[in-house]
Structures are given as C-alpha cells and as structure tokens.
C-alpha cells in the first residue's frame, strides 16, 4: 500500500492509495465470495462461485461498486492512520483506477481554528447610563397605568380615553383597525392627525375623516399618502392622572415614599439595560473574535450546520405557524432547495462562531461542572412549575436534554469569558497592570494551563 496525500483548498485532503495487483485480486475474490453467498449461482455451492462467474451473474457495474466498498473498508482506515490526518467525517471515494490500481478518496478534515492573539483583543464597553429623565418616564408610565377613568357625557378632548371603531384605509389597503379603547394622543396612536379628528366627537357619533400617513409607516408604498378614516365613537371617558407624590408610590406597591419608588425603578432599569447591553456586547465581542480568528472547515461541516438550521426552521414553522413545512414552502413559492440556499450564509456564520467558541473553551480551559448542570436543571424545572419533579429531573438529565443544557452553560461561560477578555478584566491583565486590584474571580489555574 502506497500513500499520497494532497491537501485541498477546501480543507479536505485527497488521498491516493496505490494498491498492489495481489491486493486487488484478493479483494476481487472476497467480493465474489460475498456476492455468491448472497445469491445462488446455479452449479455452485453458496460462496464457491469464481470471480468471472459472479461477474457474469451480477454485472460489471455492481461488482465494481462492491469492490470499491470492500477496498474502502479494508484500506481507508489504514490509510487514515498512516497519513496522520484528522478526518472530520467519512471520506468519499472519488475514483477507483485499475491500472495501476488506485483508490482516490476525498476526506473532510477536522476544522481548525487559529484564535491568533485573542488575549490582546479589546472592545470598548459602554455601561448603560440611566438618567433621571428615564426614571421620570417610568414614573409617567405608572401614572398613566393608575389613571382614574370616568365615563363622561361630553365631546372628546385630547388625552381622553375613547372607545371607538376606527378603520383607516389607503389605496384599498388597511392601515389600522382598532376596537380597543385608545388614548387620544398622537404619540400613542402612531398616526398623526387621527387624534385631532376624533377630538370633538361624542359617544354615538360617526365621522369620515382623512389623515396623511406618516413617513415612518412600515408599508413603504403608502408613506405620505392620504388615507380615509371611518370613526364610530362608542364611549368617551376622561382620564385623571394621579399626582406625582408619596401617595402614588403607596398605591403602586409597598413603597412609602416617592423616592423609594424612584429608586426601585432606577434599579430595575439598570438591571434590565445592563443585561441587554451585556448581551449585545457579548455578541459584538464574539463577532470581533470570530472576525480576527482564522477558521477553516470542510464543506461537509458547513452542510451539517445547514442541515441543523433547516431542521430548526422546520420545527419553528411547525410550532409558530402551525402548518407543515411543505405548505409553508408553497405559500412562499419556494422549493426546499431554495430555502436551504437562503440559509447558507447563516450556516457559515454559525459554523465560524461555533468553532471559535469551542476553541476558546479549550484554550481557556472552560469546563462545565456537575454542580452547574444541577443548578441549571433546577432552574429549568422551576420554569415548568410543579409537575412530577423526579421524573422531570430524570428526563432533563438524559441524552439530548443534558447535552443541550451543557451546551448552554458552556456557551454562556465562554461568552462571559471573552467579554472579560475584551474588557481587559482577566486575571493576568490585572496582575500586569495593577497587582493590588482584586480580580480573582476566575481560577488562575485555568489561565496558566492555557498559556
């Protein structure tokens, strides 16, 4: 057996295995034996028919296919071992030459990731700022939620709560259709001019009005067009907003003063904004890291990610749209092949991100501990409410569920770590710049091992 390995640009390798004639003859006999065992050749006991008789019985092509199979099984694994390649998946037989006998196999290689100098990557992080105005706005919302609504027998005024059927149409298309009570305020309705049209109407009145559609309408073709509004007012109620003061705070919850309410709102805002900006930051950092790393993977890897995406799309459609995937394709006049092609860029991003994260976990020695899994399982269980807990726990700790829990924890940890790196908050960095600062949140052992 003679090997020749050629690396391809597509992160695959082409292995040419040159075999001796004896090896081929041996394999042919093996194939004949196998085939004549499977089918009866008249005049011969099962497995005893010679090669030429078997070829005559099954045909040239079938015999060649079987031969390729046998040769592949016999020599492929050996060739992979000897060539010291790291295959990602099963190789594909490209060609089987007879003179000289050669097997040509294309092997997808294990993806490689070069993170480059990822520890020096910095991405500026801006902490979310909460201004007093933000807080005041929240207080305003609370006021509106707690407005005292009373039915009145007068024409509607701005700021009133009006129950009306409103239908706005332009060029045969429906822009707005509303039966619910609306507050007469342009900012809340989203169609400037509509509130003005309703002002002055009393309960039971009907009116046809025209409004000019704003430039930020979702339907681009209707922007700036004139629309007709058919308004039927049913009820008009006045709204009285409560005063901003300690009393408001007391009605809202267990706060005794307005300042307490404000503080609580501020804290909640900070928490919410920090979380969302952290997530945004993590994605941004991951993109930066991914962009800087050198990732290469074989087409087979991409195809697998593509299949994952397509499966996810299918189950999403099943769940959200409540129709079979085939129907969904029909509605959009697409073939499955087209849908798949549309997902291809996503698959590439996913492949790159996934590989970078996996490599990062390895480089930073990030592992998922049993305790973390247990904690995550408890958390998931609390979301399900009080179902049969023992059974649920067992279900969660098994197979796919366990794997997905592990993956979630791992990717969260990796994202957290790279965010730390990008902010320059790693232990090493802290030691270098300011030895006194207390930044020993992560285990130093993990960092040392990776250096």
């Amino acid at each position: 057996m003679d090997l020749q390995v050629e690396k391809l640009e597509t992160h695959e390798a082409r292995i040419t295995i040159t075999l001796t004639d004896e090896a081929i003859a041996l394999a042919r006999r093996e194939v004949a034996r196998k085939l004549s065992k499977q089918m009866r050749v008249p005049g011969f006991r099962p497995g005893m028919a010679p090669v030429n008789v078997v070829i005559g019985a099954v045909g040239e092509q079938a015999f060649a296919n079987e031969l390729a199979d046998v040769l592949g099984n016999k020599y492929y694994a050996k060739a992979i071992d000897e060539s010291e390649l790291e295959p990602y998946g099963p190789g594909q037989l490209e060609d089987l030459k007879t003179a000289p006998p050669q097997l040509i196999v294309r092997v997808p290689l294990e993806p490689t990731v070069d993170l480059k100098d990822y520890k020096s990557i910095r991405v500026p992080y801006t902490a979310p700022a909460i201004t007093d105005e933000d807080v005041e706005q929240q207080v305003q919302y609370v006021r509106e939620e707690n407005a005292i609504v009373t039915l009145v027998e007068r024409p509607a005024e701005l700021g009133d709560l009006v129950e009306a059927d409103v239908e706005v149409t332009a060029e045969g298309k429906e822009v707005l259709h509303n039966h619910r009570p609306i507050v007469l305020d342009d900012a809340k309705i989203g169609l400037p001019g509509l509130a003005d049209a309703i002002v002055g109407m009393s309960a039971g009145e009907h009116k046809d009005a025209t409004v000019t559609l704003p430039d930020d309408l979702t339907d681009e073709s209707l922007r700036g067009k004139t629309a007709t509004a058919v308004i039927d007012v049913k009820r008009v109620s006045s709204r009285q907003l409560p005063e901003v003061g300690d009393e408001l705070a007391q009605t809202v919850g267990s706060f005794s003063t307005l300042d307490e309410l404000r503080n609580d709102m501020r804290n909640r805002l900070i928490e919410y904004r920090t979380r969302s900006s952290d997530m945004q930051y993590q994605t941004q950092v991951l993109d930066t890291f991914t962009g800087l790393s050198q990732v290469s993977y074989p087409p087979a890897y991409l195809e697998e990610r593509l299949k994952e995406l397509l499966d996810e799309l299918k189950s999403d459609i099943q769940r959200d749209e409540r129709m079979p995937f085939e129907e969904w394709l029909k509605v959009r006049a697409k073939t499955e092949e087209q849908a798949r092609e549309e997902l291809r860029p996503n698959a590439a991003t996913r492949a790159r991100r996934g590989l970078v994260m996996r490599e990062m976990a390895r480089a930073e020695n990030i592992v998922v501990t049993d305790a973390e899994i247990a904690a995550e399982v408890e958390r998931t269980m609390s979301q399900y409410g009080n179902t049969d807990t023992a059974e649920l726990r067992r279900a969660l700790m098994r197979g796919d569920n366990l794997r997905s829990i592990q993956n979630t924890i791992l990717s969260n940890k990796v994202l957290g770590r790279i965010a730390e790196i990008a902010r320059g908050e790693t232990t090493e960095q802290a030691v270098e710049t300011a030895p006194a600062t207390d930044a020993t949140e992560e285990t130093p052992a993990g960092n040392e091992a990776s250096v």
Binding site: A32, G43, M48, P50, V51, N52, V53
Partner: protein, 106 residues
Amino acid sequence: MHPYEVLKRPLITEKSQWQVGYEASQYAFEVDVRANKSQIKEAVEVAFDVTVTRVNVIVMPPKRRRNPRSRITGAGAAQLIRSPKWKKAIVQVKTGDRIPLFEGVA
C-alpha cells in the same frame, strides 16, 4: 448431424471448473442425446478451434419429482414433474489448448 446441433450449452459448475484446471483441460457440455463421441469431437473442434484428445459421455437419467405446492387436489395431488434424460459430454483437449468460454478461473 450438423456440428452446431450437437452442443447445447456449456456446463459451468464447481466440478467442471475444477476439471478445466487439469493439465489437459476437460470441458463439460450438455449435448444432443442423439450425438455420438465422434460427432461431439468434431463439433468442439469446429466451434472452439482446439484439438480434442478424448471424449467421455454419460446419459443422465430422467428424473421424476412431485411438487407438493401444486394446486391439483384429489387423487393426483402433488403434481408429478418429469425431467427428460440428457447427455453430458466431458471433452479433453490437447495440453495447452483452451476454450475461452470457460476462462477466468480464479
């Protein structure tokens, strides 16, 4: 008898394959029951361009068997199937001569 009427088909079986491997190859044929040794010799020589050194013939006896899956019921149940008698010829050729029809012994 015309030579082409004599040979009916080559017999390719484990045994006949084995005999092909003899020093002087032997080839087995099913031949017409009316054919005699000299006719068989001539037929093989004409058809395959070899020199025949010996011809052995044997008449394979007719056989009868019953088909238990037959749908005939009653007294004649399990239909009787007869196979006719036939003549087998084993032809030895001159050392070195070969008949390609049987070739390719592994």
